[in-house]
Amino acid sequence: MNITRSGGLVAIALVGALALASCAANEGGTGSDTPSDLSGTLAGAGASSQGSAQEAWVAAFQTANPGVTVDYDPSGSGAGREAFIAGGVAFAGTDSALKPEEIDGGFAGCVPDTGYIQVPAYISPIAVIFNVDGVEELNLDAATIAGIFKGDITTWDDPKIAALNEGTTLPSASITAVHRSDDSGTTKNFADYLSKVAPEVWDAEPADPFPYASGEAAQGTSGVVDAVTNGVNTIGYADASKAGDLGVAEIKVGDEFVAYSAEGAAAVVAESPAGDTAGDTDLSITLDRTTTDPSHYPLVLVSYIVTCVEFEDAEAAPLVKSYISYITSEEGQAEAAASAGAAPLSPEVSAQVATVLDTIVTG
């Protein structure tokens, strides 16, 4: 009896070990293929929009490099930039590019006067989601979206909405517009799009909190999606990957109405002009929100990674270089697309980023 039992245990242990081993093998495939001799701890902090992508990146990277521990603290873009400037973390994630005064102040973790690196790492299209009885498709332009969320347009059969949706029967019900109740880069990018394209309606400065006292508020992306799903005649905005089965409005770009797509989001990032601070190692862009090219989807969030060219702590350099190279590589971007619904960087942007990362001094 005892022998049989222990035999069973051995069998279970064997099967378990095999299963675990095969898992590990699979995960290893998503990381770097070269065997790694990297070791150490790498700390980053910043945008919570990157949070779920960072989790996936960290998991894949640590599987490929067992000696490395990466910590990403999704404490918010502002907190991340501050922590990086103060030298507390080796890299920061941020939804808005470094401000000129932040760059002028220098970075405690970098060798003085060696500059900094700022590259796009995470692109997420923002979808305008709606739940209206009997309406399957909805076309909106920026001025109408701004009017709805500001509280100027209050019913679904408002002439401004009807004019964009000929042939669709809109109910004469009142609109419940749902925005984020917590601070969010999604709100900031949504507001930035509206204030650039429809400045005559959206007169508030884009910022993380929602600016107007109108409509409803819900906590987090999932809260907004929930409120829109469970409510009646609702509309909201959320990271496109979380839109689920809800109706998604097509927004007007040029003369056409465009649905969100990963390609459209990546295209607008690839073709947007360089930002005010852009330079050899700074790939920040000023998103071309007012684009009229219908292959673009300008309602998009871009999140950057900021780090040093030359680190005071020379041991951090190879870790940062290899981690950031991984997340901006094709496989890293595919990982973020699969696990966080991000839109992958276009190959050209990816290549530019790789060139910039090569300038990191590693010894």
Partner: protein, 315 residues
């Protein structure tokens, strides 16, 4: 030594076990005070920067810190008050049913069920609030606003998602019912048997007996039960953050609208993750205000209880 002590006062023989036990109870008692003091010191120390800073640096650039915390304090009190109004009659009713009406076996199992309700984590109540309650009450709110919109509490427009302060108050009421019920049930059960039998012997019906014997005896306990419930409703964070559709800087008594006053605890939960610098101090300062409010409410309750205790009818 022991001999001498024993001789001096024969009753005061202290064995090691006595010393250890009295020492540990003393330690436990003072630990509570130390913890409370530590919390108070932390709150005050962390609040000072926000209280002395230029209010323009705080989130939303309010005119002053008080303009920032005022609407939140109102929201906290308003939500807790609404919850209490709904929970109190229900809880006392359940408690009286368990203690004086229900057959013993039913009373016991009902007691277990109510206690079980107290063990449900608030995040679960929050999910229930969003997924079940809010969609369910939305048509009711629509009807109320349509037919009773003239009444200030239900003035239009109506919320399209049902995530209003009234919904939050209902969830809070469900959460505090078990606490109030458990405490007042215990108190009602303590009513001296003689009082009850005397009332019945004088020809009182069961309800009259409860009114004359049970409730006067239990009143201090009923008040402290209500205060415990109020404390939980005031401090509840998760449910408010998840369910409420808040609009900062707003003071309104409308129960069914899209824009609702936020609460201190809910506001901290929503804004803390992304806060940094002076905003963290600002949020902690609002926590200090909540701490002060709870302290005041509890002291008032203590005074009321002490005043009533004198003629509670005990003994």
């Amino acid at each position: 030594m022991r001999m001498t002590t024993a001789a001096a006062s024969p009753k005061a023989t202290l064995r090691p076990a006595d010393r250890i036990f009295s020492g540990s109870t003393l330690l436990a008692g003072s630990l509570i005070l130390v913890a409370l003091a530590a919390v108070a010191i932390f709150l005050v120390a962390q609040s000072v920067p926000a209280l002395t800073a230029d209010p323009n640096e705080l989130k939303g650039s309010p005119d002053s810190f008080w303009a920032y915390v005022g609407p939140l304090a109102f929201g906290s009190l308003w939500a807790a008050f609404l919850a209490l109004v709904m929970a109190l009659p229900l809880s006392y009713g359940i408690a009286l049913f368990i203690s004086h009406y229900a057959p013993r076996r039913l009373a016991q199992s009902l007691g277990y069920v109510v206690d079980l309700l107290a063990a449900v984590p608030s995040v679960v109540f929050g999910l229930w609030g969003i997924k079940v309650l809010a969609p369910a009450v939305t048509p009711l709110y629509g009807w109320l606003v349509e037919n009773a919109g003239w009444f200030p509490l239900f003035s239009p427009p109506v919320s399209g998602t049902g995530r209003t302060i009234l919904t939050v108050a209902i969830v809070l009421a469900v959460m505090i019912i078990p606490i109030i019920t458990a405490v007042s049930r215990e108190v009602f059960l303590q009513t001296p048997r003689l009082h009850e039998e005397a009332a019945l012997a004088l020809g009182a019906t069961r309800w009259e007996m409860i009114r004359m014997a049970v409730i006067p005896f239990g009143r201090p306990g009923m008040i402290s039960a209500a205060m415990l419930g109020l404390g939980r409703a005031l401090g509840e964070t998760m449910v408010v953050a998840m369910v409420l559709s808040p609009s900062p800087k707003l003071i309104t008594i409308v129960l069914t609208g899209s824009q609702n006053p936020s609460t201190i605890a809910g506001n901290i939960a929503l804004n803390f993750p992304e806060a940094h610098g002076i905003d963290v101090n600002g949020l902690i300062a609002t926590g200090l205000i909540l701490f002060a409010i709870t302290l005041v409410i509890n002291s008032v309750a203590r005074v009321v209880i002490n005043r009533r205790a004198a003629f509670s009818g005990a003994d």
